[in-house]
Amino acid sequence: MENPDLLVVENLKKYFSVGGGLFGRPTSRVKAVDGVNLAVRKGETLGLVGESGCGKTTFGRCILRLEEPTEGKIFFEGENILAYSQKRMRQIRRDMQIVFQDPYSSLNPRKTVGQIVSEGFRVHRIFSKRERQKRVREMIETVGLLPEHIDRYPHEFSGGQRQRISVARALLLRPKMIIADEPVSSLDVSIQAQILNLLVQLQRQFDLTYVFISHDLRVVRHISDRVAVMYLGRIVELSKTEALFKRPFHPYTEALISAVPAPKPMGQRERIILRGDIPSPINPPAGCHFHPRCQYRQQICTQTAPVMEDQNENHWVACHFPLTPLG
């Protein structure tokens, strides 16, 4: 039977060395990603949420090997890509692409739209010039732009249009998976909806798998099949979208959800305000990373890190005292 998982991440860690003494020896480490286990099924949209600094962007970049992980394994279509040579990696890159958050820095200001979008063809040296032009033209129209845009420069476009260009660039090589790193966070709310709808439509059209990274819970809820919640380098909760939002098991998830303004008058929850600031990833707290801010913490939480356990039909939580419906 074919493995339904396109991407399997095993115990991924990414530590950055910081600081330097007189001779440049690092004094401390930023534990951006601290042991993540995750599987992404073919064809699904996995949402990855968390506050700024929780490591989700670093995680996304590690999957593509834009950052080299410190530890762990990444299996793409069953093979560990961390063991690949540069040459082999280059071939695999055609299957996994990325769309960035900032529409203003993700396009080279000195190149035309056509040159930017067709970069994939240029790098892999495929297709004749005429074939390239044809495909670029098709892709431009697919993302909702016009053919006459091909010879224009990025500064002539708005944020939303630029993101469309980024998407076109990512799709040109027909990848199997796309990491979307906060693709709509820099856009106006009205434009966000447009781009999100485009992404959904493209997923169906091209049979894509998405890892959708965001700090905006409403957006994630709208577009994801499953959601993973990340805190200080670790996944704390993972389940189907509605299950997570209707009935979170982790105190952090509960607090996150409570902070989202609900449109319906009766849907407004009691807002949970967490104590303290997010601790720095340089010196994460021992045991459960969340314990200093958790109102339910006990002794064991300060000593032992909890592991992910299935609470209820593939609803996984890493907590010693997962929430029950009454409390």
């Binding site: 996994m96 958050q101 790098v123």
Partner: protein
């Protein structure tokens, strides 16, 4: 965050005059030999040290050579030194700085080390050392002056590369599988060119100045070459009674420098985002 020409601005008068001056200079340098002027090297003792007249519009020097044609010929040498030195600086400084900024760490440390050595010599000491070794001559002069411009270009290239390397479009290129040299050539280089041109224009003026200074000190071009600084040096013994010998090349040099500086400053104020921020 890209730089666009502010089309609605007026170009100030000083800038316009400067551009005219530079264009004239360039044309004169290019087409000098074609002009109906006397040979700048032809000596005629009978006509030495004459004041400006209809025969010789700017007079003659101590060996009877026509000053106007020597000034015109001198413009070629000045521009040659200026552009030559800048070319040397860019040819070596640009790749060096870009590689250091791109790869960082070890390479960067070697880079800083070499640049520090080059910059450890104040003012024209380095250029003097080089010409002391190689002897006079325009090629040697271009090399000596060029050596001083290398650190400038290297530093700018490195700084620009460092900041560009962080930009998302470079990451996107990596994600597509772009090889490092491709990234440098296709993505980084086109974006460095702008700031580099600004540096180049200001450095040209400096290079011409240093070349003239070295020639004035007698260690630049060979003595009979009609370079402006050299002409000033040659005219020194006679200047008390025949001031036009030094006034003519001196004023020419000063005007050329002013024009180049005005243009360079203008370009920098208009195009460099950091200068725009500093204007306040």
């Amino acid at each position: 965050m890209d730089k666009t020409w502010n089309r609605s601005s007026k170009i100030p008068l000083s800038m316009r005059i400067s551009l005219v001056i530079i264009t004239v200079l360039g044309l004169v340098a290019l087409f000098g030999p074609l002009l109906p002027l006397p040979d700048p090297y032809a000596q005629n003792i009978m006509k030495a040290l004459k004041l400006p007249s209809t025969d010789h519009w700017l007079g003659t020097d101590q060996l009877g050579r026509d000053l106007l044609s020597r000034i015109v010929a001198g413009s070629r040498f000045s521009l040659l030194i200026g552009f030559g030195a800048v070319l040397v600086g860019m040819a070596i400084g640009l790749p060096f700085g870009m590689l250091a900024g791109f790869y960082g760490r070890g390479l960067d440390r070697i880079f800083s080390w070499v640049i520090d050595i080059l910059l450890a010599f104040p003012g024209i000491i380095l250029a003097l050392a080089i010409v002391a070794v190689t002897g006079p001559g325009i090629g040697n002069l271009i090399f000596a002056v060029g050596l001083r411009t290398i650190p400038v270009f290297a530093r700018v290239s490195r700084a620009e590369t460092l900041s560009l390397r962080q930009r998302d479009f470079v990451e996107a290129a990596r994600a597509l599988g772009c090889r490092p040299y491709e990234i440098m050539y296709w993505h980084i280089l086109p974006n460095i060119v702008g700031p580099l041109m600004i540096v180049a224009s200001l450095q040209t003026a400096t290079a011409i100045l240093i070349g003239a200074t070295l020639s004035f000190l007698g260690v630049g071009v060979s003595p009979e070459v009609p370079e402006w600084g050299s002409m000033l040096n040659a005219g020194r013994p006679y200047m008390m009674r025949h001031p036009h010998l030094v006034l003519v090349p001196g004023c020419t040099l000063m005007i050329a420098m002013m024009a180049l500086n005005i243009v360079g400053d203008y370009l920098r104020d208009r195009l460099d985002p950091r200068a725009i921020a500093a204007r306040g």
